[in-house]
Homo-oligomer: 442 residues x 2
């Protein structure tokens, strides 16, 4: 069934970036080259950019072994990402025809998409359309999300590095909280990403160890949050401790489903997927603690850094991200389509895991939450099972390649410049057969 | 003049903690031991704790070479810090007599205080009182502050690590900002510590290099901030760039001296030294950009981590902090009093610096600001001179001692527990001559 002569591969990055997403890109590129493909194209800003005729030849970007190492250590989507959701096939068949015409013009055999839930929906729809129309292009998903909420896989690349950063930073914040005494104690509330799944917030428990008590309370979005019960707990704790540190998910909600951040006067808006953008959960709770207890408070949002802090990434995570990139490319090369690579864990400690491919129809649009039994009965901490689960994923370090005291990243020329977008859709131009140009750095 | 038989040393930490303050503590301890002192006491929470009879014998805490290495890599004040300002001598002579009685009971020869401006005021007053009363206890200051605002010294330990963390994090945030395209562009505003001095905010320029444009605008508190001019600049930049990153000091003010954070509805309060605690400068500016330009915005506060992120510390900084600890102890041992150790820079690149001691009367309560000529004419960036100045201070890394994927710190038993404070001042008890007890870890 497969072509005898291999042609080209295209790879895209989609959804929220991570510290590991570029390591998967490096893995796809390396395996495609090793398996004899001619060119590996990279979509600029995912499917959305592809539709506008934006792509690069990755061999112009990854020219040396050092480039590949830099890429693995570069945070944020090197190719640019998008939050573009394909319509259902019957809603806009023309759009699908356009994408497939572009792919045919580029002589694509394999289409690899590195992303989370919404990106797997793209793989599902494109592979469905290929089957309907008899196209032999293979579509394979490569898992990526700091949220760790993809179904059927033990975990997702990106999560381990985010968890390591969160555990490390929370520990440093707890320690900092020890330094100054306050009149009536202090409460530090740390807000961590995760709308519906508490995997990231739970990782704050990694701060706990022989040299640190860890956070005092951890609230995941899987369980309803009771503001009054929270204030009572804080009040009791302050009788015994000077400095209380609480980790909360940005997505915690009251029993009637209202986001805690909605209880204050904070700004909110809805993104392209209809997700609510939240802000100010920690700030709101600090205001309540301050008003009801009267102690000093500090709200800290880990914000963008929890997904971008390559300087504190996990070696297991960066290597596994590279591995799934290669495994996705291998699967597509061997004829798989409509699949995603997953991790199967064989043991916790020493940690051992392997990869398999699973049907993307069983993964897309499904959110994997923290199991109830991995959260304590009273809902204010994670259990030892949770820590045993996450601990192997944060092992080992990837030293950044330091130049003049600051981590070096792989630079993509002109990336930050504003694209002059046309008013109507671009007519896609088939690439001319040109020589590979030497990349010029600034 | 000096005693022939050396007795004891006491050391304290004061003011805001840093990633390097414990390295100075290790330096003081090591040098005191090498120079033949019997005991090195550590004040718990500085002079304030000392007045309440709280101190430890450091030999119970630093028992091994590994302990010393852990201490150098532990953020936040190991001994606990305080923001206690001594009254003037004539205002409360009894207080001074109490302190000196405590010091005499502990058979102290040398008193080392690691801190910033306010802590040097303590050294000044105590050394003055010693001179007035004929005490031969020597008081020497060891510089420490992320703010880098101490007079007479080229720079202060703690600043280099904070600058490295800021440069690294800002670079990662800029990169993250590239990943997703937005309809009308986006503006990310990063709020950085520094009430009056822009040394930390200026360090965001370290993100600029061959692989990154750096922040687009940098606003220091040394110059008045014009909100309208800022909005105009942002508007123009968005025509050329998708993602704008701005670094602002928490302390920026309008031409008539009003803090930008005061223009919004944010909470504020005043700390023990009468400093205004600021919050929400970035948040307020984001709200203005959002209202006037209508693009996506994100406010990021680097918050506590900029002073506590030991996992991203500068080797030059950690070693220099250790060095000034030793130099302060050496100065006191050799008879200096009322002095602070300073750095004299000999060359920028290769970097070379040496230490001297200077009269603390010329340092205390004086704030060193960023020179006007190190800020661009239009006040929206730092110059190359600034970068040349800060660059050597962030060189080299100190690998954290990783245990199970998370940095290990030196633990102090019972540290987090609430102190049962008495209603009236404690009667200081002279230490019994007991054996040094083996520390028990939890």
């Amino acid at each position: 069934m497969l072509r005898k002569e291999k042609r080209n591969v295209i790879v895209g990055q989609s959804g929220g970036p991570t510290a590991a997403i570029n390591s998967s890109l490096a893995g796809v590129y390396r395996t495609a080259m090793d398996r004899g493909y001619k060119k590996v194209y990279g979509m600029i800003h995912g499917v959305q950019g592809l539709l506008e005729g934006r792509y690069v030849d990755l061999s112009e970007h990854i020219q040396t072994g050092l480039d590949a190492e830099l890429l693995k250590r570069t945070p944020s989507a090197y190719l640019g990402s998008c939050r573009y959701k394909l319509p259902n096939i019957h809603e806009n068949e023309d759009l699908y025809k356009t994408i497939f015409r572009i792919l045919d013009d580029l002589e694509i055999d394999c289409f690899i998409y590195i992303g989370g839930n919404d990106s797997m929906d793209t793989i599902k729809k494109l592979s469905d359309f290929a089957i309907i129309t008899g196209s032999d292009i293979r579509f394979v998903g490569c898992p990526k999300t700091i949220d760790n909420d993809l179904a059927l896989t033990d975990h997702t690349p990106g999560y381990g590095s985010a968890a390591k950063y969160i555990g490390t930073s929370v520990k440093e914040i707890i320690r900092d909280g020890w330094s100054l005494e306050t009149k009536n104690g202090q409460v530090i509330i740390i807000e961590i990403m995760g709308r519906n799944a508490g995997w990231l917030t739970g990782a704050s428990a990694l701060a706990k160890g022989e040299d640190c008590d860890g956070p005092d309370l951890i609230y995941l979005p899987e369980l309803p949050f009771d503001v009054d019960g929270f204030i009572d707990k804080i009040g009791n704790m302050l009788k015994k401790k000077e400095s209380i540190v609480v980790a909360v998910s940005e997505g915690i909600r009251t029993a009637d489903g209202k986001y805690i951040s909605e209880l204050g006067n904070t700004i909110e808006y809805v993104d392209a997927f209809g997700h609510k953008q939240l802000t100010g959960t920690a700030r709101y709770l600090c205001d309540v603690v301050s008003a009801k207890i009267g102690c000093k408070t500090r709200a800290i949002e880990l914000s963008t850094l929890q997904r971008a802090a390559s300087h504190c990434s996990s070696r297991v995570d960066i290597l596994e991200a590279y591995e799934v990139g290669g495994a996705a490319m291998k699967a597509a090369d061997e004829g798989d389509t409509g699949k995603m690579v997953v991790f199967i864990r064989l043991s916790d400690d020493p940690y051992q895991a392997t990869t398999e491919v699973k049907d993307v129809h069983k993964i897309a649009n499904d959110e994997r939450l923290v199991p109830r039994e991995w959260i304590t009965k009273d809902g204010t901490y994670v259990t030892q099972e949770f820590i045993t689960y996450v601990r192997p994923l944060i092992q080992g370090d990837v030293a950044p390649i330091m130049v003049d005291g600051i981590p070096r990243h792989l630079y993509r020329p002109g990336f930050q410049e504003k694209l002059q977008k046309p008013d109507k859709p671009v007519k896609f131009e088939k690439p001319a057969k040109t020589e590979t140009k030497k990349r010029t750095r600034k």
